[in-house]
C-alpha cells in the first residue's frame, strides 16, 4: 500500500489503482509518532552537506524560483542552507530573494583574492541560516579554466568552515547544457530537475537527465512546475503522471500555476514566506520536506473536485 504523497507516512489509499502491475516503489517506514503531528520537523537523511543542483535544460521553467523557495523552506525547517547562483551571465537569485543590494562580492572576487569566502556569502536577515553566494557579477566573465574546479573548492571550503558545514548547498544551474551547466553540476551529488508539462521542456529535461546520469549523478528527482488542473481536466495539458511516464523520474513536487509567483518575484519575497500561504508556496514547502527526507511523492493532485452544494443540483 503506497503512502499518500501529500502526507509522508500518512494513511493510504484503500485500494490504489494499479496502472502498471509491476513492482511499485517501496515506501520508507515512518515512525508512527510523526503521523499528522503538529509542528513536527523533517528528518534529515543522507550525509551533509547535501550538494544539490537545480537544473532543467530549458530556460524559464522556474529553476531560480524553485531554488529560492526550497532554500528558504529548508532554512525555515531549521537547516543551514547555502544557495549558490551559478548562472554566470544572467543571475537572478539575488533578486528573487530580495538580496540584490547586498551582493558586493562574488566568487570571482574570492578567486582573485579580493575578499574571503565568508565575506562573499550574503546572509538573509529573515532567516539567518540561509546564505547566498553569487558566482559572478552580471558583466564579468568567468574563467572556465577552473570553473568546475572552483565550485568544488567552494564546496570543500564550506564544509571546512569554522561555523560548521551547511546542511544543504543548493546550486542554481543556468539554462542550457553549455559551460555554465558543466560548471554547476561538477560538485553536485544529487539533482532536482524542474520541468513544465509541455513537450519542449520535457525533451530538454530528458536530455539533461541523460547528461547528469552520464556524469554519475544518479539521485535525480523532478519537480513539475506550472501545473494547471483545469487544463489537465480539459486535456489541454499533460498530467503529472503523463510527465512521469515520459521521463521515468521520481516526483519531488508538483507546483500549481499561481499568479502569486510573479508577485512574489517582483517583491523579492519568496512565496514560502507569504502569510497566508499560497497554493504554490505550500507545494514548495512540501517539496522541500521531501528533499530533506529523500522522499518522493506517492500520489498526486489530479483535478479539483466539484463542489457538492445545494445549487450543484442545478449546475451551480
Amino acid at each position: 500500500m503506497p503512502p499518500l504523497h501529500i502526507l509522508p507516512g500518512a494513511t493510504l489509499f484503500p485500494n490504489p489503482l494499479p496502472r502498471h502491475p509491476s513492482k511499485t516503489l517501496t515506501p520508507k517506514p515512518r515512525p508512527p509518532s510523526a503521523l499528522l503531528q503538529w509542528n513536527r520537523k523533517p528528518e534529515l537523511s543522507g550525509t551533509t552537506p547535501r550538494v544539490t543542483v537545480i537544473t532543467s535544460g530549458k530556460g524559464g521553467v522556474g529553476k531560480t524560483t524553485t531554488t529560492a523557495n526550497i532554500g528558504l523552506s529548508l532554512a525555515r525547517f531549521g537547516f543551514s542552507v547555502v544557495a549558490i547562483d551559478a548562472d554566470v551571465g544572467l543571475r537572478n537569485l539575488d533578486l528573487l530573494l530580495g538580496l540584490e543590494n547586498r551582493v558586493n562580492y562574488t566568487v570571482i572576487e574570492v578567486l582573485n583574492g579580493d575578499c574571503r569566502l565568508d565575506q562573499a556569502l550574503v546572509r538573509d536577515k529573515r532567516w539567518s541560516n540561509f546564505e547566498l553566494l553569487c558566482i559572478s557579477k552580471p558583466r564579468s566573465k568567468l574563467p572556465l579554466g577552473f570553473g568546475g574546479k572552483a565550485l568544488t573548492w567552494l564546496v570543500d571550503a564550506l564544509k571546512a568552515r569554522p561555523g560548521g558545514s551547511p546542511d544543504f548547498i543548493l546550486i542554481d544551474c543556468p539554462a542550457g547544457i553549455d559551460a555554465g551547466f558543466i560548471t554547476a553540476i561538477t560538485p553536485a551529488n544529487e539533482a532536482v530537475l524542474i520541468t513544465t508539462p509541455d513537450i519542449t521542456s520535457l525533451r530538454d529535461a530528458d536530455r539533461v537527465t541523460g547528461l547528469l546520469e552520464c556524469d554519475g549523478i544518479r539521485d535525480i528527482k523532478m519537480v513539475v512546475n506550472r501545473v494547471r488542473t483545469d487544463m489537465i481536466k480539459g486535456e489541454d495539458m499533460m498530467s503529472v503522471l503523463d510527465v512521469q511516464e515520459m521521463l521515468g523520474l521520481p516526483l519531488l513536487g508538483v507546483i500549481p500555476e499561481d499568479s502569486e509567483v510573479i508577485r512574489s518575484t517582483n517583491r523579492g519575497y519568496p512565496l514560502v514566506l507569504n502569510k497566508p500561504p499560497t497554493l504554490a508556496g505550500l507545494a514548495f514547502e512540501q517539496a522541500a520536506w521531501r528533499l530533506v527526507e529523500q522522499d518522493s511523492m506517492q500520489a498526486v493532485v489530479v483535478e479539483e473536485q466539484p463542489k457538492r452544494g445545494f445549487f450543484s443540483f442545478f449546475g451551480g
Binding site: 503506497p2 499518500l4 504523497h5 501529500i6 502526507l7 509522508p8 500518512a10 489509499f13 484503500p14 489503482l17 502498471h20 511499485t24 516503489l25 503538529w38 525555515r76 554566470v88 551571465g89 574570492v110 578567486l111 582573485n112 583574492g113 579580493d114 574571503r116 565575506q119 536577515k125 559572478s136 566573465k141 574563467p143 572556465l144 579554466g145 572552483a150 573548492w153 570543500d156 571546512a160 559551460a179 530528458d206 536530455r207 537527465t209 541523460g210 547528461l211 546520469e213 552520464c214 556524469d215 488542473t229 521515468g248 523520474l249 521520481p250 516526483l251 519575497y269 514566506l273 500561504p277 505550500l282 512540501q286 520536506w289 518522493s296 506517492q298 500520489a299 493532485v301 489530479v302 473536485q305
Partner: protein, 358 residues
Amino acid sequence: MASVWTLQFRSLSLRPCSFISSTSNGSIITTRNRIVIRNGISKWRSRTQQLKHDSINSISKFYHQLVNSVTIPSFLLNRSGGSNFPIWVCVALVVLVGVFRVVSRKKERPGSVADLVRRGQLKSDRRGISRPLKYEDPFNNPFVKVGKSNSTVEMCGKVYRLAPVTLTEEQQATHQRRRSRAYQWKRPTIFLREGDSVPPDVDPDTVRWIPANHPFATTATDLDEDLAQNNVYQKHGVPFRIQAEHEALQKKLEALQNDQKLNKLAIDPINAKEFERPFNSHARLNEQAEKSTEQKINKLVIDPINAKEIERPFNSHTRLNDQAQKSSVDNQVSDPDSPNIDSDLNHFESTSSEDPTL
C-alpha cells in the same frame, strides 16, 4: 481675512492702470498733461483711502456676522444654572487623547524600523523587516487537510482529487538504460578557445570549445590555479590581493618619502661641508646612503616581524639617512688612510690642478 486683503490690493493695482489708459485714449488734451497727472494721483490717493476704509468696515462686518452665526451651546450660556460636568468630560477626553498620543509616540522610537515604516521610508511587508513566519507543518495545517478517505486533499479552500503514483523501479531502470544509449557524454574537463589546437594528451571528447566572444565565459585567465584555490580556502586574515596592493602602495610611499628626505638633505645647511667634496665622492655617499636606506625599507616591508618599524615616523628615516652619512663620514675621519675618499679627493684636485687644458 488675508483673502479679503489680497482682493482689495488686486483691485487697487488695477485702478491706476485703467486711469492711465483712459488718459492715453486722448480724453484729456496733451498740453495739460502734468496737471492732469497730478490730479489723477490725488484722486487715486483719495480713492485708496476710501477703499481702505471700506475694506476695514467690511472686515469688521464679516467678523460680527461670523460671531453671531456661531451657535454657542446652551450649557455654556447658562453656566450659572447647570452643572459643569459636560465641560469636564470634554476636557478629560482631550487630556486622555493627548496622553495616549504621547505614549504611543514614545513606543515608536525615532529611528527605529517601526518609525521608518510609519514615515514611509521603508515598506513594512518586504526586505527582511517583516516578522518571520512561525514554523508550520506543510502537510498538516489549517490550509492543508487530507480527506477522511485519503483520496482527496483540501488545499487553500479547494478540494482536489488524488491519484497514486505508479512509477516502478523497473520503469526507472528502463528509462535510465534508454538515456544511457541515447546520450553518450563525457563531462568536458578542458576548455579551449575556438581555433586552439588540442593538446596531445587530452581526450577530444572532453574538450569544450568556447567561442572567443562568448559573453559570459572566457578561457583566458591571468590567475594562477593554486593561488585561486588558496584564496578560496582562506578563512582568516587579509585577502591576498588586498595585502599585495597594500604592500605595493606602502613601498611606493616609502620610496616617495625617501626621495623627499634626500632632497631635503641636499639643501640642509648643516651638511654644507659635504657639498665641498668632489662630485664623485658625493655621489658615492648618496648612493651608499640610498642603498642602506632601501635595504632597511625592503626589510621593513617584507619582514612581517618588523611590523613595528613600518610605523616609524617620517623623521626616523631622516635619522637613518643621517646616521648612514655620519657613519660614512666618521669612517672617513677615523681612517685617514682610507683609499676611497681621500685618494679620490686628492686625485680629483690633482687632476684639476694638473690639467693642462684648464
